[in-house]
């Protein structure tokens, strides 16, 4: 068995590769002309999917820790969260820049009038303070409030799933998979919490 520190290091490398992989894939595809006839649509879809994958992966860290008792996994959370934010930014910039050509009027109209864009945009906005306060300094400075603040990631992920669900036209399979995954992760947390509270009650008996 690799030693625990090495295992984290390896996993971090894997996350970096997975995180940058889609960008490399898109860049190569772009220059080779294999992203289809409307590359911008491919970029938006691929980046939207990876945003969601990284958000859900971020949220999976604590449940996995609870279920396996592997505490060190927490060291991966920040990287996963930042990659979620990174892909959300690329996703948004592809939409705002390449698709809408930074036509602020149209973008504002979309954000206000189209509920799936409203949800996605709200999710992105919520991720900004989380990314900013993800450093050690901010964790120290905010103390207990940091934990509270970062619960917002649940709201962001829910909005992201809603955005996905509202966006699809026919096949709700993947949005539902995402929703179930999110619900599952949430359930593990709640169950753990209840058990912990229950456990306390038992021990004080």
């Amino acid at each position: 068995m690799a030693n625990p520190r090495r295992r984290i290091l390896l996993l971090k490398c894997a996350i970096w590769l997975t995180g940058l992989g889609p960008i490399v894939w898109l860049a190569v595809g772009f220059f080779r002309g294999t992203l289809g006839v409307l590359p911008v649509d491919t970029i938006i879809l691929v980046e939207g999917r990876w945003t969601l994958v990284f958000l859900l992966a971020t949220l999976a860290v604590t449940p996995i820790r609870r279920l396996t008792g592997w505490n060190r996994i927490i060291q991966l959370r920040r990287l996963l969260g930042l990659f979620a934010f990174f892909h959300a930014c690329v996703h948004f910039l592809a939409y705002a820049g390449i698709d809408q050509l930074f036509a602020i009027g149209y973008i504002i109209e979309d954000v206000l009038d189209r509920r799936y864009i409203t949800a996605g945009f709200a999710a992105l906005l919520l991720l900004i303070p989380l990314a900013v306060t993800s450093t050690k300094g901010w964790i120290r400075r905010l103390g207990k409030r940091w934990v509270k603040l970062h619960r917002l990631v649940y709201v962001a992920a829910s909005l992201g799933v809603l955005h996905f669900y509202w966006k699809v036209r026919a096949d709700t399979f993947w949005p539902l998979v995402a929703a179930l995954t999110l619900a599952g992760l949430f359930a593990v947390r709640l169950a753990y919490r209840r058990r912990r509270l229950g456990g306390r009650a038992t021990s004080s008996r």
């Binding site: 289809g36 006839v37 409307l38 590359p39 911008v40 649509d41 390449i98 698709d99 050509l101 149209y106 109209e109 979309d110 009038d113 189209r114 509920r115 799936y116 509202w166 966006k167 036209r169 026919a170 096949d171 709700t172 399979f173």
Partner: protein, 311 residues
């Protein structure tokens, strides 16, 4: 606001794309046969200095055949080009039924033979706000309607796409769409000279992913109205149920005329991404034209109708 309307005949035929070299250019008609042809040809010379892929130059074969919505073969745009080879188009029968004098099961050849095949370049505007310019080959839908001799009570014609899970890709569970795919037109729309039955592209046989062996093309409506791989035509008195309007009535109407002033609830229809192979991103954003630029020819069909209501 000024709505820029152009005659459909404005489509210049001057830009020769590789695929179009084969064909007598006179046959490229932007509008209904005869109607716009003269004006269109005289414009030719004036339009010729325009550089590559300006305005309404036809898309390439590659673009037209690899970016398709044909959900029976998968939901991604590239899926139909990968999967539609499984569709068996020969032999092919089209059932004509409903309120008409000459119902029956027609062999495709018998369906097509009596008509004169023409090439026509039309704009194609998808409801998803992308567009192309496509040189179809086909014949007036009116030919077939007239031969069927609809009863005086018939006011609509409904169409059905083949549904055969053996040949088509039904992945995972059935998407919420109820197959077979159905579409419909008002009879006066169907017999309008712009409405085509299409069996070819760029003078060649229509590729499966584009709706072989026979599809409808109604260029002033969003693309999903132009139903593919037709196996049935039914004349009806009542407005027939259509797939997308049934699936999401708030988003897709029976008419679905291209209209920059009626937004789709989830996105604006004011502009579109014209796929044109241009540098970097392969498209440019252009204003969407009322009735896709065919207002001069077809606006009279909707006189007095509230197009916000009958979207």
């Amino acid at each position: 606001m000024i709505i820029r309307t152009r005659k459909s005949s404005d489509i210049p035929s001057s830009e020769i794309t590789p695929e179009s070299v084969y064909i007598n250019r006179r046959k490229f008609l932007g509008a209904s046969a005869g109607l716009g042809a003269a004006a269109f040809l005289s414009r030719d010379a004036a339009a010729s200095p325009i550089s590559t892929r300006q305005d309404d130059e036809p898309n390439t074969w590659e673009e037209i055949t690899t970016h398709n919505n044909f959900y029976e073969f998968g939901l991604d745009k590239k899926d139909p080009s990968r999967n539609a080879h499984r569709l068996v188009t020969k032999p092919w029968t089209v059932k004509v039924d409903g309120l008409c004098k000459n119902p029956g099961d027609y062999q495709l050849e018998d369906f097509i033979k009596p008509s004169t095949i023409e090439d026509r370049i039309y704009r194609f505007r998808c409801v998803e706000a992308w567009s192309m310019v496509i040189p179809w080959r086909g014949f007036p839908l009116a030919d077939v309607v007239n031969r069927a001799e609809p009863d005086p009570s018939a006011r609509y014609v409904a169409f059905e796409t083949l549904w055969d899970p053996e040949q088509m890709t039904e992945r995972r569970w059935k998407p919420r769409i109820g197959w077979p795919y159905r579409e419909g037109l008002r009879l006066d729309e169907a017999v309008h000279p712009l409405s085509l039955l299409v069996n070819g592209l760029y003078g060649k046989e229509l590729p499966n992913q584009n709706g072989a062996p026979l599809r409808v093309i109604v260029p002033w409506k969003y693309g999903f109205k132009s139903i593919k791989s037709i196996v049935r035509m039914t004349f009806t008195e009542e407005e027939p149920p259509t797939t997308w309007a049934t699936q999401s009535p708030g988003e897709y109407g029976f008419y679905s005329n291209v209209n920059p002033d009626v937004s789709h609830p989830r996105w604006s229809q004011a502009t579109e991404k014209r796929i044109d192979g241009s540098k970097f991103f392969g498209h440019r954003r252009i204003d969407t034209l009322f009735l896709n630029g065919y207002a001069d020819e077809v606006a009279h069909l909707y006189e007095g109708m509230d197009l916000q209501k009958y979207f």
